[in-house]
Every structure is written in structure tokens, then in C-alpha cells.
């Protein structure tokens, strides 16, 4: 295969990693019925924390740990203020977005723009698989660092967890009808805390992926906007792991395309148009799935194949998303 194409595809896998981790983290949070709107700020603050800690302690592990802790703490603020203070999750999440973003600028000012001082997660090609020549699979998938592999593994783990394990089934119920879950003996608040913490930690990990692997180093607003993208992808993905992954790679792919097209001088399409394409596509998709049109299309599909397409075409948010659980 064309080496440029292979390199682009490898870049897509690499650049998609943080979005995929954050998207899956947010998906878990929302499946439990909680909206963590603070993604954009959390990723920034976590990226800063990861870089600063890794630089000071010269330990990548501690840097990643710090980032996950930051993500977890912010997520726990949201769920705690919702459960104990009855605050609106959307409002708290939004304020935390702004706070965390500004905090990252303020706390990270000593670490901003340090040329030459970089900490990078070590490159770790997979021994045998990296040499697969067929379709460039070796270079596309197996010549990255551990975090990038983790993002792909996570996708399968989350999928298997949600659809094929007992706690995964309970997670789906938590966001759907917490009252019914309570009646069936699930400790709703406890598990919501757990899943929100896990989701938050993953969002923090996404931040670490940016500053320690993809953009290397810290500067003001390093990752700005990516949190919102992850949030949009969760909706685009209809709260399903593989559709979320599809959304991630679609967006990253279109961005890579925009970059390549910029190099081609003959094309007179403004590059901004291509940068806008993902959003237009996303709007169209959302409109498509939420209008009656998708339902109408579904009716045309033969009965047997319908369940498969239902999953692909419909996007129903967890019914209890963003609500506080009370026994009565």
C-alpha cells in the first residue's frame, strides 16, 4: 500500500486515542445517568498536571496517575454536588469547564512553552506484529506507545463489559431507570459514584495522552475544543462503544484529510470548509436519527435485519440522564 496512506492511517489511530478514551469515559458516565459536561476543562487541566508531574518527578507513571486523579476529582465534584447539594449537573459541569481551563493556564504558567524539555511515553512496538506487511497493519496498529494500544483495547473491554457482564447490565439500568434498579437491590448512588469516578479518570487519561504523547509538552489551551468534540461524539455515537469509536475515527480522519489537502496546491477548496465538514456531518446525522426519517427507513428494512439497523440508526439517550436519583 501507499506509504503516505499507511502513515496517515497510523496517525489517525494515534490521534484518535485521546478522543476515544475520553469519549468512552464520558459514555460510561452518561450510561450511569450522570452528565459530566466539564470534559473540555478537565482534559486541559489533566494534560497540564500530567506534564508538570512527569517533568518534576521524571516519572511517566506518576504523571499519568496525576492526570487520572484530576479527572476523577472533577467528576466526583459533579456527582457529589448533584447527590448531596441537589445541584444541576449541567450547570456545575459547565462552570467546572471554565474553572479547570483557567486553572490550567494559571497553575501551568511555569511549565508553559519549555522547548527541549519533553517527557514522552516510550515508543513500544509490539514484537512480532509490528512487522506485518499485509495492508500495512504492522505500521498502522502496532508501532505506537502503550497508551495508544490501551485506547483500542479499552474499546473492546468497555463493549464486552457493557453488553456481556452482570455489572455492565446494571450500569445500563442505572442511567435508564434508577428507581427500578433500586427496587432490584442495586445501590444506585454508590455505583453512580463508582462509574462517574472511572469515567472521570479516563477523561483525565485522555488529557495525559495529549501532553505526554501527541502534542508533547504544555502550553496554554493545548487541547482546547477537544473536550467538546468528545462530548459531541458520545451523542453522535448514540451511547454505544463502537459507534463512538466510529465517530472518533471519522472526525480524526477528516482532520487528517484536511491536512493532506492543504498540501495540494491545485485544490481551491478553502481548508476551513474541510475543517467544518465533521460538524456539518454530525448535525446531519443527528437530524437524521432524531427525525421521523430514520423510523420510516427502518420500516422498509425486513423484520429480521431490523434489530441490527435499529442499533445503528437510533440514538436514544439514557432515559434518566442528568437526573438526581431519589427513592420517592
Amino acid at each position: 500500500m501507499d506509504p503516505i496512506l499507511i502513515r496517515t492511517l497510523a496517525d489517525i489511530v494515534r490521534n484518535g486515542a485521546p478522543l476515544l478514551i475520553a469519549g468512552l469515559g464520558e459514555m460510561i458516565t452518561e450510561r450511569a445517568g450522570v452528565v459530566n459536561l466539564s470534559l473540555d476543562g478537565t482534559i486541559l487541566l489533566a494534560a497540564m498536571a500530567a506534564f508538570a508531574v512527569a517533568l518534576e518527578t521524571s516519572s511517566i507513571g506518576l504523571g499519568i496517575g496525576a492526570a487520572m486523579l484530576v479527572g476523577m476529582l472533577i467528576a466526583l465534584i459533579i456527582i457529589a454536588s448533584s447527590v448531596f447539594l441537589r445541584l444541576d449537573q449541567i450547570a456545575v459541569g459547565f462552570v467546572l469547564t471554565l474553572l479547570a481551563a483557567d486553572l490550567s493556564t494559571f497553575v501551568g504558567r511555569d511549565y508553559a512553552n519549555l522547548p527541549g524539555q519533553q517527557v514522552e511515553i516510550p515508543y513500544a512496538p509490539v514484537p512480532v506484529l509490528k512487522d506485518i506487511e499485509f495492508l500495512g497493519i504492522g505500521e498502522i496498529f502496532f508501532q505506537h506507545n502503550l497508551l495508544i494500544y490501551f485506547s483500542v483495547v479499552l474499546l473492546f473491554v468497555v463493549w464486552a463489559f457493557i453488553y456481556h457482564t452482570r455489572p455492565g447490565l446494571q450500569l445500563r439500568g442505572l442511567g435508564e431507570h434508577p428507581q427500578a434498579a433500586y427496587v432490584r437491590g442495586i445501590r444506585v448512588q454508590f455505583w453512580r459514584f463508582v462509574y462517574v469516578a472511572i469515567g472521570g479518570a479516563l477523561v483525565g487519561l485522555a488529557g495525559a495522552t495529549y501532553s505526554l504523547s501527541i502534542r508533547l509538552g504544555w502550553k496554554e489551551n493545548l487541547t482546547i475544543g477537544n473536550g467538546w468534540i468528545a462530548l459531541a461524539i458520545v451523542i453522535f455515537g448514540g451511547w454505544r462503544p463502537f459507534r463512538v469509536a466510529f465517530g472518533v475515527y471519522l472526525i480524526v480522519g477528516l482532520r487528517a484529510l484536511a491536512l493532506e489537502l492543504q498540501k495540494e496546491a491545485t485544490l481551491n477548496i478553502p481548508v476551513q470548509i474541510i475543517n467544518m465538514t465533521p460538524w456539518v456531518l454530525m448535525l446531519l446525522t443527528l437530524m437524521f436519527v432524531s427525525s421521523g426519517f430514520a423510523e420510516w427507513l427502518l420500516r422498509l428494512i425486513p423484520e429480521r435485519a431490523r434489530p441490527f439497523f435499529q442499533g445503528a440508526l437510533r440514538a436514544n439517550p439514557p432515559a434518566a440522564l442528568g437526573t438526581n436519583f431519589e427513592k420517592e
Binding site: 456481556h164 457482564t165 452482570r166 455489572p167 455492565g168 447490565l169 446494571q170 445500563r172 439500568g173 435508564e176 431507570h177 428507581q179 427500578a180 434498579a181 433500586y182 427496587v183 432490584r184 437491590g185 442495586i186 477548496i269 470548509i273 456539518v280 448535525l283 446531519l284 437530524m287 437524521f288 427525525s291 421521523g292 426519517f293 420510516w296 434489530p307 436514544n316 432515559a319 427513592k327 420517592e328
Partner: protein
């Protein structure tokens, strides 16, 4: 299993929801728990099923004190409850719902659970498809799933809260047979919370009656309806037949109307409604009664229109997008052409659908009503009252007075609070609402919310479309509301209402429209119709 209640008391603020209730439920027996709205029967059952804890008193199971502090603990003790709103997960499948909350390995073993579920269903005589989404099931099937689930968990005491609301006559019969079988052959204790005397007569062995939180009486079946009513209300209600009203001019003419309901689409409904007439819509929940009323009121667009609309939006966006990409004159012309089409298509569509293809017509007071908005029809006296009170009918968070101010349809930009308050007081007095004008609506009980909603109906309404107007109200309140509604007929108001209660339909309708799996039958003279016959019609028996 013997369940003994000892001096159960539950206090909410100043209200004693349960006041020193003591009773013993014996195994092998079906009990009815009767009482009007707010009598405390739900509270008592919630205490028994672990949803709430009593303020004082204790529960003994087989003579041993039991500490039931959560629904899960109740199930461990063998007490399971079937709630009035199904406590299941709509987007999950039947099988997943069955597995939810059940112990077992970390990895889901669908295969085994499926076998268990099918086995359980076979024993009970239910036919459930394990792969179906619960959202696509009827209320009756969701009940069956829940019963199967509870029994498989080893429940010995089954509490059912108003189980016959919204299920078909056939499902009701099946449910009753199952319950009788469970009680009399398997020695289970069954508690049925209800306010329908017919259910009690057909099913129960014993009954207890609550009034204002106190246990006021118990009796063994057979017990006459009069005696039950007397225990529930403390006095005998005298039902008087509704006064006969002269039919006036035609208010509404419906011809060949097509309606898309949740489960079916219904073709060719015809109806002619005169002033002073009451038409009851009978049928299972979701058979199209609501959609029929909403279509009349202009709240549901014809389904095809939506499709056109979304297509139009897509095309429009595509044009804007392509314009951004390219500014050649060809594209300009394409755009101008497309916009013209976009304006022409709806016009053409309107013309085709309403004049040529004729998918039906609705005439209200001699004018075409189909395709007009509710706002316009409302100003001409057509009113639709939804059944979901806090979801659709009322605004949670506003007070009663604010609701009356909101329903004011004058054009002045300010609110006349004095007028709203006097209207609210007047409405409260006329409909006997237990509440004050300054009370927030969600603080009132369900029955009182419904009364406020009915009190807000404009006085000059010519056609009332009421979706389950007395849902959740006890006999006494329902009767009161109906006498107020019926008295409006003398001013020439016509009423269309739907109800899950067949007795209500037979009592108050001049004609009945039966909705049954996509078919509509008009019964012109319901005076010789019995509930059994009506149930058959709903079930599809011609």
C-alpha cells in the same frame, strides 16, 4: 407465609398516612386492599415491600419480627411487589430485564437465563419473547414479565398495585387465573390494591378497607358492592343517571380520518358529533384513542408531512453547504430552483392530501379543522386535556394561581393577578380541590392536580377532548367531576373522552367508539352494552 402487621404507623409531616394498622395476612388467600385516593393503601404496601420504613410498629413474618429496610430485603423475606408504573427497563430486552438484579457469575450467561425464563413462563402460561425489547410490549406483558421474575426469585407474598389498569380483558382474565392458581394451589399470599369493585368481586377472598390512614373494616367475600362502598366512604353514594340533554347542531364531522398510533395505524374513522353529546373511546392503552383526539385537535400532524419536512431540511442544508463550496452560476441556478421546489412541494402536498388524495377530513363548526393548529382551534372552543398531568397538562413548579394566569387567553401583555387569583379560588371551590391558590401544583395529590386541570378548561368550550379525565381518582371524586362535566352539555358542549375504565365509558357515553388492534367500531346505543361485551369488542371479538 403468614405476614402480620402490628400497629404500623407512618407519619409524613402533619399527615398520618397509616395510623396503627394491625392485620394478619394468611397464606393461600387473596386479599383486596380497598380505599379512596389518599386513604394510605399505597403507603402501607410500600412499607411492606421495603420502599418506605414505618414510623413505628413492626412486621412479623411467620411469627418472627422482620426488618424490611429495602425492596431487596423484602424479596429476601419473600415479599415482592408489582408496582403500578412498571419498574423495568424499556430499552433492554425481556431477557435482560429478567436477569437484572439477579445473582450469578460476572459474565452474563444469557443461555441459562433464557432457559429459566422460558421454563418459568411455561409454568405460568405466559408467552413472552425473550429477545423482544420491553418498550414494544403491552402493559399486560410487562406485568407478566415482572410476575415471572418475582416468582423465580422465590417470592411467597405478591403485592399488586392496581394491576388491571391498561390491560386487555383477555390479559386480565389470564392474570386472575394465574393469581388464583398461585394462591389456592401454591399457597401464596396475594394482596391486591385496587379501587375497582369488579376486580374484588371476581378475584378476592377477603378484603380490608382503609380510610384516612385507619383500618376501618374487613370482610370476607362475597360482600355486596354497597357494603364495600359504605366502608370506603362512610356513606352510601346514590348514583343518579345523567340528565338527558337535547342534541343540538353538528359540532364535529370526521370523514375517513387516518390515524397513526403507537402500535397500529387506523384507517377511515367516521364520526358525527352533535352538541350536548358524549362519545367514549374504549380500547387498550395506545390503541390510538389519544392519537385520534390529538389529530382532531391539530396536535398531531399527518405523519407523511413530517417526512417531507425532514427531507426539506436536509435538502436546504445541502444547498447551503454546496453554495459554500462553489460559487459558480450553475449552483446558483440550482439553488434558486431548489428553493422554488421547496416552497412548491408543501403547497402541492397540501393540495394533494387535503383536496385530491383525501386521507380524511375533519370539520369543526362547519369549517375545515384538519391541518389547522391547536392554537387556532382552541380560540374557537376546542379543548384537549392530556392524561399526563405533570408531563403535559400542568407545569410543575408553578402555583395554582399561576396556572390560571397561564391559561388566560387574552392579548394583553401583563398578568392580572387579581383576576387569576379569583379564578383560582372559584375553580378550587367548584371542583372541591384540596389546596390553596398559592400552593405549587406538584405539592397537590394526583387527584387534586386533575381537578385543577379540569377547572382550568375554558368556560366557553364547545368541544372537550379528554384523555382519561378521571385517571387515578376514586369513585366519589370521579362522580363529582362527571357531574360538573355533564352539566356543561346544557350549554351545547360536546365531549369526547377516553378511559381505561369500561364502567365509566358505559355510564357516561351516548355513543362508544371501540379501538381494537387498528380497527374502530362505533356502538350507537350503549344502553344494552355490558362491560363484558365491551371487553370482548376491545379484545377483537366481533
Amino acid at each position: 407465609m403468614k405476614v402480620e402487621l402490628r400497629e404500623i404507623t407512618k407519619i409524613f409531616g402533619p399527615v398520618r398516612a397509616n395510623d396503627h394498622i394491625s392485620y394478619t395476612f394468611e397464606p393461600g388467600c387473596i386479599y383486596a386492599i380497598l380505599g379512596e385516593n389518599g386513604a394510605g393503601k399505597s403507603t402501607l404496601m410500600k412499607i411492606l415491600s421495603g420502599f418506605q420504613q414505618p414510623t413505628s410498629g413492626e412486621i412479623l413474618i411467620d411469627g418472627n419480627p422482620a426488618n424490611i429496610d429495602s425492596p431487596n430485603r423484602a424479596i429476601e423475606y419473600g415479599i415482592g411487589m408489582l408496582y403500578q408504573d412498571p419498574q423495568d427497563f424499556a430499552p433492554l430486552t425481556v431477557l435482560e430485564n429478567y436477569m437484572f438484579g439477579r445473582g450469578g457469575s460476572f459474565i452474563l450467561s444469557r443461555h441459562e437465563a433464557r432457559k429459566d425464563l422460558l421454563e418459568c413462563c411455561r409454568e405460568l402460561g405466559f408467552s413472552l419473547n425473550p429477545g423482544a425489547n420491553v418498550a414494544t410490549l403491552t402493559v399486560g406483558e410487562r406485568q407478566q414479565l415482572e410476575i415471572a421474575r418475582l416468582l423465580s426469585l422465590g417470592v411467597k407474598v405478591l403485592i399488586l398495585d392496581e394491576p388491571t389498569t391498561g390491560i386487555s380483558a383477555a390479559q386480565r382474565e389470564q392474570l386472575f387465573n394465574t393469581l388464583k392458581e398461585l394462591a389456592h394451589n401454591e399457597d401464596m399470599t396475594i394482596l391486591l390494591v385496587t379501587h375497582k369493585f369488579r376486580d374484588v368481586e371476581e378475584l378476592c377472598d377477603e378484603l380490608i378497607v382503609l380510610r384516612k390512614g385507619e383500618l376501618v373494616g374487613s370482610a370476607e367475600m362475597p360482600c355486596s358492592t354497597d357494603a364495600m362502598v359504605e366502608m370506603m366512604f362512610g356513606k352510601r353514594l346514590v348514583g343518579e343517571p345523567p340528565p338527558v340533554v337535547e342534541k343540538g347542531d353538528t359540532v364535529l364531522t370526521i370523514k375517513d380520518l387516518d390515524v397513526d398510533a403507537r402500535l397500529f395505524s387506523i384507517d377511515d374513522i367516521d364520526l358525527k358529533l352533535n352538541e350536548g353529546e358524549v362519545v367514549g373511546l374504549a380500547g387498550l392503552d395506545g390503541s390510538g384513542q389519544v392519537d385520534f383526539m390529538r389529530a382532531i385537535a391539530g396536535l398531531n400532524r399527518p405523519s407523511f408531512y413530517d417526512r417531507i419536512f425532514s427531507l426539506r431540511t436536509l435538502v436546504l442544508l445541502w444547498i447551503i453547504f454546496s453554495l459554500l463550496l462553489n460559487n459558480s452560476p450553475t449552483v446558483m441556478w440550482m439553488m434558486i430552483g431548489a428553493v422554488t421546489v421547496l416552497i412548491l412541494v408543501p403547497m402541492l402536498y397540501d393540495f394533494l392530501v387535503f383536496r385530491v388524495v383525501k386521507t380524511g377530513s375533519v370539520e369543526y363548526l362547519g369549517q375545515r379543522a384538519f391541518g389547522r393548529g391547536y392554537r387556532e382551534l382552541l380560540s374557537k372552543g376546542m379543548v384537549f386535556l392530556p392524561s399526563g398531568r405533570l408531563e403535559e397538562g400542568l407545569v410543575s413548579g408553578l402555583t395554582v394561581t399561576q396556572h390560571f394566569a397561564l391559561s388566560d387567553r387574552t392579548w394583553r401583555p401583563w398578568v392580572n393577578w387579581f383576576e387569576a387569583q379569583s379564578k383560582a379560588r372559584d375553580g378550587i371551590a367548584r371542583f372541591d380541590v384540596r389546596g390553596r391558590p398559592a400552593d405549587p401544583i406538584q405539592a397537590l395529590s394526583g387527584g387534586n392536580q386533575q381537578r385543577v386541570a379540569l377547572a382550568m378548561l375554558p368556560q366557553d368550550g364547545r368541544l372537550l377532548l379528554l384523555d382519561n379525565p378521571t385517571r387515578g381518582l376514586d369513585v366519589e371524586s370521579a362522580r363529582r367531576i362527571w357531574s360538573l362535566l355533564l352539566s356543561r352539555r346544557e350549554q351545547g358542549t360536546a365531549i369526547i373522552f377516553s378511559s381505561a375504565d369500561l364502567d365509566e365509558i358505559l355510564d357516561y357515553s351516548d355513543r362508544v367508539l371501540v379501538f381494537s388492534s387498528g380497527k374502530v367500531t362505533l356502538v350507537d346505543d350503549p344502553s344494552h352494552l355490558t362491560t363484558a361485551r365491551l371487553g370482548e369488542l376491545i379484545g377483537g371479538k366481533a
